[in-house]
Symmetry: C2
Subunit: 356 residues, 2 copies
């Protein structure tokens, strides 16, 4: 069994903490360990460090290697360019299959937070069992807590096992819905958030890729002889540009008829924007939260502050986000956290690339 950590994200919504050279998964947004380090730490009871594979972008390989000294450097695979998750998951499956085609891959995003680690591990163990014993692709579906419009949904079909965590067939995948649709999903009791966490045997994923994305399968076949050798980087540089850009959800899962969803309820956050930190940082009685440093609030509530080890004094302001880095100060209302992208676009438009 292998953990496959997908560490290709850029995380622009955590600007200015996240930067092109320092994406979200490399940040210590909570505590002292980065999201990537926490992801690998969390898997240790299931997969020791020599059974961890990290797929990341070439320009992030160096900091990833630095943050994960316990993982053999050869198992940190640098994609020369982003080709979406089907290519990344397929590459990892090809790497694993070269050693052991029947090994289970537990595929995990590098930039998520989990509250209940015991239940998380139990759920993954169950997912691995199912993947190991049947020719199916197992997804982890999260019980929706609110009518989220920012996630895709998995619609459960017939129940296959009711032992907790329960397992279902999958009736359909749904793209990010509008609010009314999200509300109906929430009320249906049959829809779960698509977590981006999966379990499958390497050979099963590769077979499904061959069936549904033959162009990708051809590329992976071309790569396989060089994987794990000193020709790997050269082969990736040659083959990767030709690979199709498609997600594993769109390219494989939505088309396959061998999908299972396992119901997950282990306190999960995709840490999608600064606003998500409200629940994760230490806060005062007026819900002012600071990542670190002292906080002094007078007539102030609901603010989120990341200002390093500075003392933050807030006087008469509410529901703001403020972030101080070495070269940037950002201030915005919490309800506009999703619009940080606009700042990045404006920086680009003004040629201020040094701040990206």
């Amino acid at each position: 069994m292998y953990s496959v950590v997908m560490a290709g994200g850029s995380g622009t919504r955590f600007w200015p903490a996240s930067r092109q050279a320092r994406p979200k998964q490399l940040l210590a947004l909570t505590g002292k360990r980065s999201l990537l380090q926490q992801t690998v730490d969390r898997m240790a009871p299931l997969t020791p460090a020599d059974r961890v594979l990290v797929v990341t972008g070439a320009h992030h390989a160096a900091p990833v290697i630095e943050q994960l000294p316990q993982v053999p450097a050869a198992q940190i695979i640098a994609e020369p360019m982003a080709r979406n998750t089907a290519a990344a998951a397929g590459l990892a499956a090809a790497w694993v299959a070269k050693n052991d085609p029947s090994a289970v891959c537990l595929v995990l995003p590098a930039d998520h937070l989990i509250t209940d680690e015991t239940l998380f591990l139990d759920t993954l163990r169950r997912a691995a069992e199912i993947a190991s014993s049947g020719d199916c692709l197992v997804t982890l579906g999260l019980n929706p807590r609110y009518p989220a419009t920012g996630f895709g949904y998995i619609e459960a079909g017939d129940m296959i096992s009711q032992d907790p965590p329960p397992v279902f067939e999958v009736k359909a995948f749904h793209e990010k819905p509008d609010l009314a649709t999200a509300q109906s999903y929430l009320e249906s009791g049959r829809h779960m958030w698509n977590s981006g966490m999966f379990a499958w045997r390497a050979e099963v994923l590769l077979a499904e890729i061959k069936r549904f994305i033959p162009e990708l399968a051809g590329g992976l076949d071309e790569l396989t002889p060089d994987l794990g050798t000193d020709r790997q980087a050269e082969a990736l540089a040659r083959v990767y540009p030709k690979l199709p850009k498609i997600s594993v959800d769109n390219g494989v899962l939505e088309k396959s008829d061998s999908i299972r969803v396992i119901e997950a309820d282990f306190g999960w956050s995709d840490v999608g924007s600064w606003d998500a930190m409200a629940e994760l940082w230490p806060s005062d009685r007026a819900d002012n939260a600071a990542q670190a440093g002292k906080l002094l609030a007078i007539d102030a509530s609901g603010n989120l502050v990341s200002a390093g080890h500075r003392l933050t004094a807030l006087l008469g302001v509410d529901n703001l986000v403020a972030v101080v880095t070495d070269d940037v100060l950002l201030i915005l209302p919490r309800e506009r956290c999703q619009d940080v992208r606009q700042v990045i676009d404006t920086l680009k438009a003004n040629g201020l690339d040094e701040y990206l």
Copy 2:
């Protein structure tokens, strides 16, 4: 003629830029020169550096000497403790009188900004003429621009000279008024803001102090033999604790019948709080102003930012003040700038003295 620069202020309203060890007059709030340096620079056409006397607190003497290398160190007089402006002005007058009792002292706060320097110098020249030729204390009254409740007012009496700048007798001094009273002062056309700028012959001030604050006069008499000698610091340490705490306005000017007020209109700001920087810092078309560094504002207006050389990104926020220093982040609405004192009080109450 001497310039007497009163540099004893603490300027808590510019926290966290101003600190106990670095009060407002030592800060470069506009441009690269501190308010103190600008004050001394501005006087150069009237009084060369060897005719400048600075009265400051003992714990600020070192940075004052450092900021004013052109002023003889012996003319930077360190008060061992604050004893308000009557003592400071009296001490300077005693120092000057020891050399030349008839010399005119131009008394100036160290922490004000002047826009029209030519008119400022012309006004002071006129004030010096009047002080030099009559046994009177000359105050500079500023034409009120709005019904300020934060300043004392001087009520003009009969006009003595209508040559610009016009000179009047003084009918009364008024303490900081409430808003309705301030409005009536503004409409009267006879009330001016009390600027804290004065001109008088050293011997004239000392005579008035002897008449109205004999206890202070006694202390100054005790000090005089040691002023300008290597016994000065010791004498100040012995005598200063005994001096009465009273302002030159309350202690002398309000009681004297030899006061003149000269009407001043040279673009003055006491830079009383962060809010005052709106007119002084570079700003964009939406009235967002930054002391330094790039400013990127989206749906944001009327904000004031001091964040060193950082790029500041503002998204969807209005009329805020944000200040970043090495160890503090402060955010508040502009209309609460006067309440920064509350933050300082809270820091004290919580034993966070290192931030004062």
